[in-house]
């Protein structure tokens, strides 16, 4: 299992901090510039490799660059420096239910959302029952999703995303959806994914969850990679650093 699923090499991502941003044409012309900005590196020279078949966690305080890194991994952002390569199909699960059309039924939305996530119609059709079953939406599947309870809405979104069946799944804090029952189902699903040899990269603030699920973690702070290693010791180090600050 030494094969690498995702390799991140010297990745840097720059954002512009705008002191003045002229998003209207008048302002741009009057001030004779579109913006005044300074560069802010949300990620700085981050490198690591995720072995195939493992679960990998990203930890760090708010604003440490975890989500930016996830967005780079799922091709929503493009890194300004460095490269990210992956072997196998990668799916991002950053938000559930985005792209649902409220007036369309759950059934129609499954096909729509599936294709946004990159599934072919046949694949969705083959997995349809499984998706409905997992979501627990049941008889409401032919109702417009605007009538769904917020729980049903996210559960359906999550079920579609989890059934995309990627080789690599990138997850951002979405494990906290649904009720206890559903969370238990999700946990089981992640265990299944792992036994099936899939790679999972996740961001979470719940250290208990990370400790339980992840083989390895990377600790980010202000865009820099502080430490990387087996989950137990690295999480301890991270928690100790937090205590150090608060004391």
């Amino acid at each position: 299992m030494s094969e690498v699923a995702v390799s991140v090499e010297n990745v840097g991502k720059k954002f512009r901090l705008y002191h003045e941003r002229n998003q209207s044409l008048k302002a741009a012309i009057m001030r004779r510039r579109v913006s005044v900005h300074e560069d802010f590196w949300a990620l700085n020279d981050v490198s690591f490799a995720v072995p195939a078949g493992t679960t990998f966690g990203l930890i760090g305080s708010n604003g440490s660059g975890k989500s930016t890194l996830l967005k780079c991994l799922s091709k929503i952002y493009y890194p300004d420096r460095g490269t990210i390569t992956h072997n196998g199909r990668l799916a991002g699960l950053l938000e559930v239910g985005s792209g649902f059309h409220p007036e369309l039924s759950g059934r129609e939305n499954i096909f729509l959302n599936g294709s946004i996530l990159g599934m072919a119609k046949k694949e969705v059709a083959a997995k349809f029952d499984e998706i409905v079953e997992f979501s627990g939406v049941g008889q409401f599947i032919d109702q417009p999703v605007k009538n769904y309870s917020s729980g049903m809405y996210v559960r359906l979104g999550f079920s579609i995303a989890i059934n995309v069946n990627p080789d690599i799944l990138v997850v951002d804090e979405v494990l906290a959806v649904g009720d206890t029952d559903f969370q238990e189902k999700c946990r089981q699903k992640f265990i299944d994914l792992k036994t099936a040899g899939k790679t999972v990269i996740l961001v979470s603030h719940s250290m208990g969850q990370v400790r339980e699920m992840c083989d390895q973690v990377a600790w980010l702070n202000n865009g820099d990679l502080v430490a990387i290693g087996d989950s137990g010791p690295t999480i301890d180090k991270y928690l100790r650093s937090l205590d150090g600050v608060s004391e």
Binding site: K71, G92, L94, E95, S98, G99, H101, L104, I116
Partner: protein, 278 residues
């Protein structure tokens, strides 16, 4: 070329997004798809009252079809124009309205503006089919011209797509674009021979002569408007039932290819930055 491959590989998504627009559009309305006919009918009514009864604009009868019905003459140009204007408006807004999706999921971005072309085009097909039936009932012999009409519709769709791609990116950078385009489209419509025949412009231009001592006439400048040849060809096919003027047709081809190439190029250049810019 890579962009064509990308579009081809995400054709299923494109279809689904288009269907989402079409299905979502008239949900919870009693008349459903019929609503798409109401808009052109309403503007038709207004323009006919003002221009045919009050101002008494009289277009030449169709040659050789012999049609002499203002309403039909108007619709042959008005329907393509409405399609064009709607694609520009909706395509331009497509990226901004779907910002949430663009920032959370990776998928081929170009499917968003393209799917609006698809859904607006679907309505247009419906309208054109109704127009064709009415034309035939009124004695126009349009059947043999349908293949060429389809080519011309594709050309206009390509022209509109190119501009919509360009505008969608411009709108991400400057939200002024949407307000500007609304005004521009209004002016543009009156600069195109849709509600009045082009020979009124020719007559005016002839009496004014060369501008500022040059050989350039008002008509020359007027003809720079790319929608003029498009509208001309639509009328020649639908209302006159004859071969389109080769110069007009060639201009349509050139304009649509140019718009599409520039639009795709600009979109390609900016699409990677979209999630940050929105």
């Amino acid at each position: 070329m890579s962009i064509l491959k990308e579009i081809l590989s995400s054709r299923e998504l494109l279809l689904n997004l288009t269907l989402r627009e079409i299905k979502g559009q008239y949900k919870r309305t009693v008349f459903g798809q019929l609503w798409s006919l109401v808009n052109p009918l309403a503007s038709m009514l207004v323009y006919t009252i003002v221009f045919a009864f009050i101002i008494r604009v009289q277009p030449d009868p169709g040659k050789p079809s012999g049609l002499n019905i203002f309403v039909l003459w108007l619709l042959c140009a008005l329907l393509p124009w409405t399609f064009f204007a709607t694609v520009l408006n909706k395509g331009m807004a497509s990226l901004v309205t779907n910002a949430g999706l663009v920032q959370k999921v990776y998928f081929s971005r170009i499917t968003l503006p393209l799917s609006t072309v698809g859904s607006v085009g679907f309505n247009w097909l419906f309208e054109m089919a109704v127009l064709l039936i009415v034309l035939m009932l009124c004695g126009a012999f349009v059947l043999p011209w349908i293949p060429l009409l389809i080519v011309q519709m594709i050309l206009l769709a390509a022209f509109a797509t190119g501009l919509a791609l360009l505008l969608s990116i411009a709108n991400v950078h400057f939200r002024d674009t949407q307000y500007f385009v609304t005004i521009l489209l209004q002016i543009w419509m009156y600069l195109t021979p849709i509600i009045y025949p082009i020979n009124l412009v020719e007559a005016q231009s002839g009496s004014t002569g060369g501008l500022l001592g040059t050989n350039i006439t008002v008509l020359d400048i007027y003809n720079l408007n790319p929608m003029v040849p498009f509208v001309n060809v639509f009328r020649q096919l639908l209302y006159d039932n004859r071969w389109p003027n080769p110069a007009d047709f060639l201009l349509c081809v050139v304009w649509s290819i140019a718009a599409l190439v520039v639009g795709l190029w600009v979109f390609r250049r900016s699409e990677k930055k979209l999630a940050e810019l929105l």
